[in-house]
């Protein structure tokens, strides 16, 4: 018997028991829909974390002085002076995998403007810092190279600072604010970025030329850290190695000496956070998978009932020439139709539910093509797996017994 006929016969048999077929399908529909939705939620969270990390600069590399030893006493990295201006210059000039590089020095204190004040820290950087951290200027200008060279008392401020120092909505550009009694002229504002995944306010930021901070605020010659960006996310690892080589050379470290600095890329942070969401996704998918399994058992159950109920039909078909494999195929196709149709409806339901989640609680979702394909494959496998045993039972019936069955 050809496959077209078999499908026709199976559809007829299913339409004879519409309610039962639908309820059986419902198990698969719920299973598939929940797999799709759960994966969409899990993947959505992962994507949103990844995009937030890349907002921060996915190819960003941070270099900090390492926690060193001072006469047997371990000291915190803040007090280390192992990074020097020469390090910045050689990285800027020698490194080939680095697109931009900026030194960083910072100091905490109180900002004052008129009757308002706000505690924040001021970071001394070069203009490249904005590219590295993916910061954009909202209004005004970035300080120039000349201003950096001249240690000009200019700064760029973030939204949180302007909100607190200029609560009446005045234009902050050109205003002079004081930080630890040193006056800084605001020459630009930084575009709002909001809170990051870790709950840090990314708009609580004041940037000034590093020379100004070194000379006028901290009175130091070393630098507290370096920020660099690799040419692309893909070469971050190579860039990291290169930085380490250059710095070790600069610091004249012997082969068995420990680094006196730390190089960290966003990759570690990113992989840590995404592995957390991966676990969440797997967990959700497992729960959803169990409901799919229950749906499959539902199919098996109904197929058993169907085979028993149609014993005489099976007997008749065999008497008039159906072979065992014809009967097997007939019931297998029935099971596969249930699971496959259930799969299609389930995918649609799952997508609908995912968008509902997005609309209702504005949770980021992401429907992956692989999760849809996976659901279909699993559905068909379930149809074959759970349909096989009842169909085999039907195919092995003795036509004489089957015809006599009451």
């Amino acid at each position: 018997m050809n496959i077209g006929n078999l499908i026709k016969i199976s559809l007829r048999a299913l339409s004879n028991n519409k309610m039962r077929a639908f309820l059986t399908m419902l198990g698969i529909i719920i299973g598939v829909a929940s797999v799709i939705t759960m994966l969409a939620i899990g993947q959505g969270s992962k994507k949103s974390i990844q995009s937030q990390i890349s907002e921060m600069g996915s190819n960003m590399i941070m270099i900090q002085p390492g926690a060193g030893m001072n006469g047997g006493v371990r000291t915190s990295s803040d007090n280390q002076q192992s990074l020097k201006m020469e390090d910045y210059i050689s990285l800027r000039d020698k490194a080939t995998y680095i697109a931009a590089c900026s030194p960083s020095v910072s100091s905490g204190g109180q900002f004052i403007y008129g009757g308002n004040n706000y505690p924040a820290s001021i970071s001394g950087v070069t203009p490249e810092y904005l590219t590295i951290r993916k910061l954009n200027i909202d209004d005004g200008n970035v300080f120039s190279r000349q201003q950096v060279a001249a240690a000009a008392k200019v700064c760029l401020v973030g939204k949180t600072i302007t909100k607190n120092l200029f609560p009446n909505g005045e234009n902050p550009i050109g205003k002079v604010i004081r930080f630890n009694k040193i006056p800084f002229t605001i020459i630009g504002t930084i575009k709002e970025k909001g809170f990051n995944t870790m709950g840090m306010d990314q708009d609580n930021i004041v940037l000034a030329p590093y020379t100004t901070i070194q000379k006028r605020v901290l009175a130091i010659t070393y630098i507290q850290g370096l920020y660099a960006s690799a040419l692309s996310e893909a070469v971050t690892d190579k860039a990291t190695v290169e930085i380490e080589t250059i710095l070790r050379e600069n610091h004249k470290l012997k082969a068995n000496d420990d680094d006196d600095f730390n190089v960290r890329s966003q990759k570690e942070l990113s992989s840590m956070l995404t592995s957390t969401t991966d676990i969440l996704t797997i967990l959700l998918a497992c729960i959803a998978g169990i409901s799919l399994l229950v749906g499959g058992i539902g199919i098996m159950n109904i197929m058993y009932v169907s085979v028993t109920e149609r014993t005489r039909e099976i007997g008749l078909r065999m008497a008039i020439g159906a072979k065992g494999r014809d009967i097997l195929a007939q019931f297998m196709i029935e099971a596969i139709i249930i699971s496959f149709t259930g799969g299609i409806i389930g995918v649609l339901f799952g997508m609908g539910a995912s968008f509902l989640v997005k609309l209702a609680i504005s949770w980021p979702i992401s429907i992956q093509p692989y999760s849809v394909i996976l659901s279909f494959v699993v559905c068909t496998v379930i149809g074959v797996f759970f349909g096989w045993y009842p169909a085999k039972k039907a195919a092995q019936m003795d036509p004489i017994e089957a015809l006599r069955y009451e």
Partner: protein
């Protein structure tokens, strides 16, 4: 002498029930020629059902050989017998065994669906012709649950005819019908016989023997009587003799 369709040679069939062996058939031999209308009778336990299953190639003998249309059946495997049944035998059952909620046409097409030689259109044409032959040309698209017992049995007979079998095997084909309808069905069988079909009619009802051309009686697994019926009664006459039905 016309061609022999069925040849049984010392057929034995034993069943094991627990520790005992039941001899359902204890050496049966006969042959049936083309165009015969044979009734096989016997009380329950006579081996009638076993005989029917063997003749229908649903079962194989424990000993002896059965030739259907010159093909030896006992050595065939299940699939070969399925194909043989599909090509050479038409079954008519006591309880019709039509598929539920399925039209007459589709029911009749069923045996042809298991024969890949036929296209969809050929199946339809043959099924229509077969239904025409049993007088149901106006019921092609009626579903099995919308028909009377007599009509359902006619559909079943059409289904048995549709593959042009060498043998029609009827098992108590009138057992579920009232007297009048039973005669109507017998009329149909007699017409088929006159057209030259070979029919075996298995029944426990001795009255029906009068309508067939040959009577075989089984008892305890053996043939105790095998007579030609020189004096075939016309079922049509009996039907006409019945009191007219009030509608």
């Amino acid at each position: 002498m016309s061609k022999s369709i069925i040849r049984l040679e010392n057929i034995k069939r034993n069943f094991r029930v627990g520790d005992e062996t039941v001899h359902a058939l204890r050496g049966v031999s006969f042959s049936i020629s083309e165009g015969e209308f044979v009734s096989i009778m016997g009380t329950s336990g006579s081996g009638k059902s076993t005989m029917l299953n063997l003749l229908g190639c649903l079962d194989t003998p424990s000993d002896g050989e059965y030739y259907l249309d010159d093909v030896a059946v006992s050595t065939m495997n299940k699939n070969e017998r399925s194909t043989l049944r599909n090509r050479k035998i038409g079954f008519v059952f006591q309880s019709y065994n039509l598929l539920a909620k399925t039209t007459a046409l589709e029911n009749v097409e069923l045996p042809l669906q298991y024969n890949p030689e036929y296209t969809g259109k050929e199946r339809r044409d043959k099924a229509t012709k077969a239904l025409d032959a049993v007088g149901l040309s106006d019921r092609l698209h009626h579903k099995s649950n919308q028909m009377s017992g007599g009509q359902m049995q006619r559909v079943a007979i059409a289904r048995a005819l549709v593959n042009d079998p060498v043998l029609i095997l009827a098992d108590e084909a009138t057992g579920n019908l009232d007297t009048r309808t039973a005669y109507e069905i017998m009329v149909l069988f007699q017409e088929l016989h006159q057209e030259g079909r070979t029919i075996i009619f298995v029944t426990h009802n001795p009255e029906l023997a009068a309508f067939t051309s040959r009577n075989i009686v089984l008892r305890d697994g053996k043939v105790i009587k095998d007579d030609e019926n020189k004096n075939i009664e016309s079922a049509k006459k009996m039907l006409d003799a019945l009191p007219k039905q009030e509608d």
